[in-house]
C-alpha cells in the first residue's frame, strides 16, 4: 500500500512538473525523439560522461543508425534528436545548435577529443558518415569542466567502436539514393587474443542535382513558390573516409589503443540566388590520430591520451582563386580516477598546442597568417554517493591557461537522486566558457586579438520517469527545464565597407523546456513504439554594447522556439519500420525579429528487413524522406530537396 502511495506520489510530481513547465513556456520549444534516454553509465565507451552526475544524456544507438547508413551525422541528428541542425542543403555545410547556442557552443567529440577546427571553431556534421558510428550520445548542458572551451549548449559524443563486440565480424554496405547518390561501406572487426582491430571504409558520391521549387520564403509576406520543379546544379560531391582502430590488453592491468580516422571530401558549392556564378568548390581533409593508454588496478585508474588532429580546407572560386586554411591540434590528457565505494575522484591535466594557418585572397590582396596557441588545464572532480548510490553529488572545478593567461576558475555541481525506482531527479549548476577562435582573433584585417572569452552559467533540472502501465506498456519520459546565461557573446559587426570585426557584444539568456517521451508495447512477437520530443527554447540578448540595439529581448536568429518530433515504430522479427514527423517552428532571420522563415514539417518513413542465409545476414533497408514533398528552407534561400529515397543492402557475417 505504501509502495503504491510512492508510485502515485511519483506520478503527481511528474504531472505537476509538466504543468509547471507548461506555464513557463509561452515561447519555448517542443521536440521529440524516439531514441533512448539511457543512464550516463550505460553510455558505452565514452570517457568522462560516465563519470558525470546530473547530466542529461540521449543516445542514438545502432537500431536508429540502421536507418541512416547512407546519411551523415547532420541528417541523423536533424531527424532524430533535439538538436537543431543548420543545414545549407544536401551535402552542404551543416552545424549543430543546442539550447539556443550556436555551432561554436557545441563540441563534437571522438573519444573525448574535440573535432572542431581551431580556425572557425565548428565541425561540419555533413562530413561525418553515420555508417562509421556505433553510437551517438548527446550530452545536454554545459559540462565545460570536463570538455573545456566551447561546451556551452551541449556536446555530441561519437563512438566508432562497439566495445561489446567479440570475435571476427564483417559488415558490407552498398546503397543508392535519389539524385545520383551511390554509397559503399565496409566495417571489419578482427580479434586475435587480446587484440582487436576495427577497420572502416566509406565512400559516397552524388550528382546531387536535387529537385526543389524556387521559392521566396522570407516572412512577412506571401510565400511564393514557383510551380515548376528546378534542379540543383553544381552541387556534386564525393567523400571518402577510412578508420582504423587497434586496441589491446598489455597484461592484467594495462590497455593500449591506437586510432586513425582520415577523411576527405570534394564539393561543388551551388548558388541559388546569384546570377553571377562563382563556381565555388571546397575540399576538406581531416586526419585524426590518437593513442591511448590505460592502467587500472583495484580502485585506481590512470589514462593517458594523445591526439594529433589536422584540418585542411581548400576553397576556390573564379574571383578569388584558391584560399586555404589549415588547423593542427596536438593534445595530451592525463586522467587519474579513484573509484571508491562512496567517493570517486578524478584528477586530470591537459596540455594542448593549436596552430592555425591561412592563405587567402581578400579584397584583391593575398593574406597569410600563421598563429599558434598553447593551452594548459587542470581539472578535478569528486563524486559522493549515499544511500546505496541513490543520491549522487558531484563537485568539479577546472582551471585553464591560454598562452599563460588564466581563465577564471570554472566550478560545477551535479546531483542525481533516485526518488523512486520509477523516478529520478537530475540537476546541475555549471559554469562554462568559450575561447575566441583563430578566425575571431586573427582573420586578416578583421580579427580582434583583444576579444575576451564568452562566459556562461547554467542551471538545469530533469525528472526521469520510467514505468510500466497495464503490465505491458512501458513508458520512459524525461522532462527538463534549463536556464543559461552567456556574457561576452561574440558577434561580428560592420566596421566599414565590406569589413566587419568580432566584438564581445551581447549577454544572452536562454531558457527552455525539453520533454522526451516514449511508449513501448510488446504484443506477441510484435513491438510497437510511440515517442516524441518537444523543445521550447527562448534565447534572447538581454544586454548589448551596440547603441540602440533592436535585438534586445528578441529571439536569436536561426533559433527555433519550437521543435517537435513524433515517431511511431513497429518491429516484428527481422522487420523494422519507423515513421517520423518533425516540426520546426519559425526561425527569425533578422535580430529585431521583423523577418523570419516559416515553420516546416517533414515526414519520413524507413523500413528494414533482415534475412539469414546460413551464417550470412542480409538486411535490406529503404527510407523515404520528405514524404509529402514539402518545399522548405532551413537557412534563407538554401532550398532543401523534395521527396527523396535511399535504398541500402547490408551484409553481415
Amino acid at each position: 500500500m505504501k509502495k503504491k502511495q510512492h508510485i502515485h506520489c511519483a506520478y503527481g510530481i511528474v504531472l505537476l512538473a509538466l504543468l509547471w513547465a507548461n506555464s513557463l513556456c509561452a515561447a519555448s520549444l517542443v521536440q521529440t525523439d524516439t531514441s533512448k534516454v539511457l543512464p550516463a553509465f550505460k553510455v558505452l565507451g565514452l570517457r568522462y560522461p560516465s563519470f558525470f552526475a546530473g547530466s542529461k544524456f540521449q543516445v542514438l544507438d545502432s537500431t536508429i543508425l540502421l536507418h541512416f547508413q547512407q546519411q551523415s551525422l547532420a541528417q541523423v541528428l536533424g531527424s532524430q534528436s533535439q538538436v537543431f541542425i543548420k543545414s545549407y542543403g544536401p551535402a552542404a555545410l551543416a552545424t549543430a545548435s543546442f539550447r539556443g547556442g550556436n555551432a561554436n557552443h557545441t563540441p563534437v567529440l571522438w573519444n573525448g577529443f574535440a573535432l572542431q577546427s581551431p580556425l572557425n571553431g565548428q565541425t561540419d556534421l555533413a562530413l561525418i558518415p553515420s555508417f562509421l558510428l556505433e553510437n551517438i550520445a548527446l550530452q545536454y548542458g554545459s559540462p565545460a569542466v570536463l570538455f573545456g572551451s566551447g561546451a556551452m549548449g551541449g556536446s555530441i559524443h561519437l563512438q566508432t567502436q562497439n566495445k561489446l563486440l567479440e570475435g571476427h565480424h564483417v559488415k558490407l554496405m552498398a546503397g543508392i539514393g535519389s539524385f545520383g547518390t551511390y554509397t559503399l561501406g565496409a566495417k571489419v572487426q578482427l580479434q586475435f587474443g587480446k587484440w582487436k582491430s576495427n577497420f572502416g571504409l566509406y565512400r559516397q558520391q552524388g550528382l546531387n542535382d536535387f529537385r526543389f521549387h524556387k521559392a521566396n520564403m522570407l516572412q512577412p509576406g506571401e510565400i511564393q513558390i514557383e510551380p515548376e520543379v528546378s534542379r540543383a546544379s553544381h552541387a556534386n560531391f564525393k567523400q571518402q573516409a577510412y578508420l582504423q582502430e587497434l586496441e589491446g590488453k598489455l597484461g592484467k592491468y594495462q590497455e593500449l589503443g591506437l586510432r586513425l580516422w582520415w577523411q576527405t571530401s570534394e564539393r561543388n558549392l551551388p548558388e541559388f540566388s546569384m546570377a553571377s556564378l562563382a563556381n565555388a568548390q571546397q575540399q576538406d581533409q581531416q586526419l585524426r590520430l590518437m593513442a591511448d593508454y590505460k592502467f587500472k588496478k583495484g580502485k585506481y585508474e590512470l589514462q593517458s591520451r594523445t591526439g594529433l588532429f589536422k584540418d585542411d580546407i581548400k576553397y576556390t572560386d573564379i574571383l578569388n582563386g584558391l584560399s586555404q586554411t589549415k588547423g593542427i591540434q596536438l593534445t595530451q590528457f592525463i586522467d587519474q580516477f579513484w573509484h571508491g565505494k562512496k567517493f570517486e575522484w578524478l584528477l586530470s591535466g591537459m596540455a594542448q598546442r593549436l596552430n592555425g594557418e591561412g592563405n587567402m585572397f581578400q579584397n584583391g590582396n593575398q593574406y597569410n597568417f600563421n598563429q599558434s596557441q598553447q593551452r594548459q588545464a587542470i581539472f578535478g572532480s569528486i563524486k559522493y554517493q549515499e544511500f546505496n548510490g541513490k543520491l549522487q553529488q558531484q563537485l568539479s572545478v577546472r582551471s585553464e591557461w591560454v598562452d599563460g593567461k588564466v581563465i577564471p576558475l570554472m566550478p560545477s555541481f551535479g546531483l542525481q537522486l533516485f526518488i523512486h525506482k520509477s523516478l529520478t531527479l537530475l540537476g546541475n549548476a555549471a559554469t562554462s566558457y568559450r575561447l575566441p577562435t583563430f578566425n575571431d582573433l586573427y582573420w586578416p584585417q578583421m580579427g580582434n586579438p583583444l576579444l575576451k572569452p564568452e562566459q556562461g552559467i547554467s542551471f538545469e533540472v530533469s525528472l526521469k520517469n520510467n514505468l510500466t502501465l497495464f503490465k505491458k506498456l512501458g513508458l520512459n519520459q524525461t522532462l527538463t527545464v534549463y536556464h543559461k546565461e552567456i556574457s561576452n557573446w561574440i558577434l561580428w559587426v560592420p566596421i566599414g565597407g565590406t569589413l566587419s570585426k568580432p566584438f564581445n557584444v551581447h549577454e544572452v539568456l536562454s531558457k527552455g523546456v525539453e520533454w522526451q517521451w516514449q511508449f513501448n508495447l510488446p504484443i506477441g512477437k510484435s513491438k510497437f513504439l510511440l515517442g516524441g520530443l518537444l523543445d521550447l527554447t527562448q534565447a534572447r540578448p538581454i544586454g548589448s554594447t551596440l547603441q540602440g540595439d533592436s535585438s534586445l529581448n528578441k529571439q536569436l536568429i536561426f533559433t527555433p522556439r519550437i521543435k517537435q518530433q513524433i515517431q511511431a515504430g513497429f518491429s516484428r522479427g527481422a522487420f523494422n519500420a519507423l515513421y517520423t514527423w518533425n516540426y520546426v517552428g519559425n526561425r527569425f532571420t533578422s535580430s529585431d525579429n521583423q523577418n523570419w522563415l516559416a515553420p516546416y514539417q517533414l515526414h519520413s518513413l524507413a523500413a528494414s528487413y533482415g534475412f539469414k542465409v546460413k551464417r550470412h545476414l542480409f538486411t535490406i533497408q529503404a527510407s523515404l524522406q520528405n514524404l509529402f514533398n514539402q518545399t522548405y528552407q532551413i537557412m534563407v534561400n538554401r532550398p532543401m530537396p523534395l521527396r527523396n529515397f535511399q535504398l541500402t543492402l547490408q551484409y553481415q557475417l
Binding site: 504531472l15 509538466l18 584583391g364 502501465l469 566599414g496 565597407g497 520533454w515 540602440g548 523570419w596 534561400n637
Partner: protein, 357 residues
C-alpha cells in the same frame, strides 16, 4: 480484484493527465510572430523625398527600397515589394535617377531593376550583367555599368535594355562620374583612375592616384575629387588619399593624405558643392579649399557602426546609416551640415545608399 481495478483506473488517469499536459504544452507553444500591418503605398508621387536603399544580406534576397516623403514626413518601407508584389532582389548596391525612371542596381542578382520615378512600378530590368555595382547614364540612349567581377564596363542601351557593348577595364570597377565627353571610373584594386572617351566608347587615359579609387564628387569649381582606400597590406603600402583633379587635363592638383590604416568610404558633397563628407568609422568633413585633412571628426560614431552616408541637397542634411549587427533594420541618423543631430528612423537591413527624388 477491486485493487486491480483501482490500479488500472490509476493508470488510465495518469495516461489521461499526461496526455492533457502534453496537449496543453503543445498548444501553449503556438508561436507568435510580429503583427505586420499592410504597408502603405505612397500616393502621388510627385512628392519629393529621400529614397533609401538597403542592401539586405548577401544571398538572402532581402534587399529593399524605402521612401521618406519630405512633405508629410511619412516613411514608406519596402515600397518596391509593396507596389510590385515581388521581392526586389539580392544586395541593392546603388541607385540612380534618369529622366522619369529610377535604376536599382542589384549586385548579387546580376541585374538592374527599373521603376517609375512617380509610381514605383516596375518598368523592366536590365539583365545579363555579372555583378553590377553602379550605373551612370551618359545620354538618353546609353549608360555605363561598373562591375565587381566582369573586368569590363558594360554599355547598356536604355531603350532596348540590352547590354550593347563592353569596355575593357580590368578589376573591380566602382563609382563613375561624367564630365563633358569623359567618364571617370574608379577601380578598387588598381593604382589608377580610368578615363573613358564617350565618343569612342573606349579607355582614353589613366591617372595615377595611389591605390584603390572608390568614390567621386565634382565641386563648384568643376574640380573632381577622388577618394581612395590606399593599401595597408603587402610590401608597397599606400596611404588612403583624397585627390583634387582637374578633369579637363586629367591631372592632380592637390592630394591630402588620410592616414595609413584608415578605410575611407562614401564621398559626398554638399548642396553648395564646397564641402566634402566621407566615412572613416565616423563622419569627416572638409572644405574644398582646405589643404590638410580635418583635425576633428564632424559626427563621431560613439560606438555605432556607420555603414552608409548620404546627403540631402534639398534640406541640406547629412544622412548616416548604422547597420548595427548586419541582421536588423538599420538606424538612419539625420544631421545638419554642422553635425548637429536632428532625428533618426529605421529602414531596411544594411542601408547603404540614398537618392533624392
Amino acid at each position: 480484484m477491486a485493487q486491480n481495478r483501482a490500479h488500472k483506473t490509476h493508470h488510465f488517469l495518469y495516461l489521461g493527465l499526461l496526455f492533457l499536459a502534453g496537449l496543453s504544452m503543445a498548444f501553449s507553444a503556438c508561436e507568435k510572430t510580429p503583427i505586420v500591418l499592410p504597408k502603405a503605398v505612397p500616393g502621388d508621387s510627385l512628392s519629393q523625398g529621400m529614397l533609401i536603399g538597403s542592401e539586405g544580406n548577401f544571398q538572402w534576397g532581402n534587399a529593399s527600397l524605402s521612401f521618406l516623403d519630405k512633405q508629410s514626413g511619412t516613411l514608406y518601407e519596402d515600397v518596391y515589394k509593396t507596389v510590385n508584389q515581388k521581392p526586389l532582389g539580392d544586395v541593392l548596391q546603388s541607385m540612380c535617377s534618369w529622366q522619369d525612371k529610377i535604376y536599382l542596381v542589384l549586385n548579387n542578382s546580376g541585374k538592374i531593376e527599373i521603376i517609375n520615378k512617380h509610381s514605383f512600378k516596375s518598368e523592366g530590368s536590365i539583365v545579363g550583367l555579372r555583378a553590377p555595382r553602379y550605373m551612370l547614364p551618359i545620354s538618353a540612349q546609353t549608360a555605363y555599368v561598373s562591375d565587381l567581377y566582369d573586368n569590363h564596363l558594360s554599355i547598356v542601351n536604355l531603350s532596348t535594355l540590352q547590354v550593347s557593348g563592353k569596355i575593357a577595364c580590368p578589376g573591380w570597377t566602382e563609382e563613375m562620374l561624367s564630365f563633358g565627353e569623359k567618364v571617370f571610373v574608379c577601380n578598387k584594386y588598381q593604382a589608377y583612375l580610368y578615363v573613358i572617351d564617350t565618343k569612342t566608347q573606349s579607355l582614353s587615359d589613366s591617372i595615377f592616384i595611389g591605390y584603390g579609387a572608390i568614390s567621386l564628387a565634382l565641386d563648384k569649381n568643376n574640380k573632381l575629387w577622388v577618394l581612395t582606400t590606399g593599401n595597408a597590406n603587402g610590401n608597397n603600402k599606400v596611404e588612403p588619399q583624397l585627390h583634387c583633379l582637374l578633369p579637363s587635363q586629367n591631372s592632380i592638383e592637390k592630394t591630402i593624405g588620410l592616414g595609413m590604416g584608415n578605410l575611407p568610404l562614401k564621398l559626398q558633397i554638399n548642396a553648395g558643392k564646397d564641402k566634402l563628407y566621407w566615412l572613416v568609422q565616423d563622419v569627416w568633413s572638409m572644405d574644398i579649399n582646405d589643404i590638410a585633412k580635418p583635425a576633428t571628426k564632424l559626427i563621431p560614431s560613439n560606438g555605432r557602426t556607420f555603414y552608409g552616408l548620404g546627403y540631402d541637397a534639398y534640406q541640406k542634411q547629412i544622412w548616416v546609416s548604422d547597420a548595427k549587427d548586419y541582421v536588423q533594420k538599420s538606424e538612419l541618423l539625420i544631421y545638419n551640415e554642422d553635425g548637429t543631430y536632428i532625428k533618426s528612423l529605421r529602414a531596411g537591413i544594411n542601408t547603404s545608399s540614398f537618392l533624392i527624388k
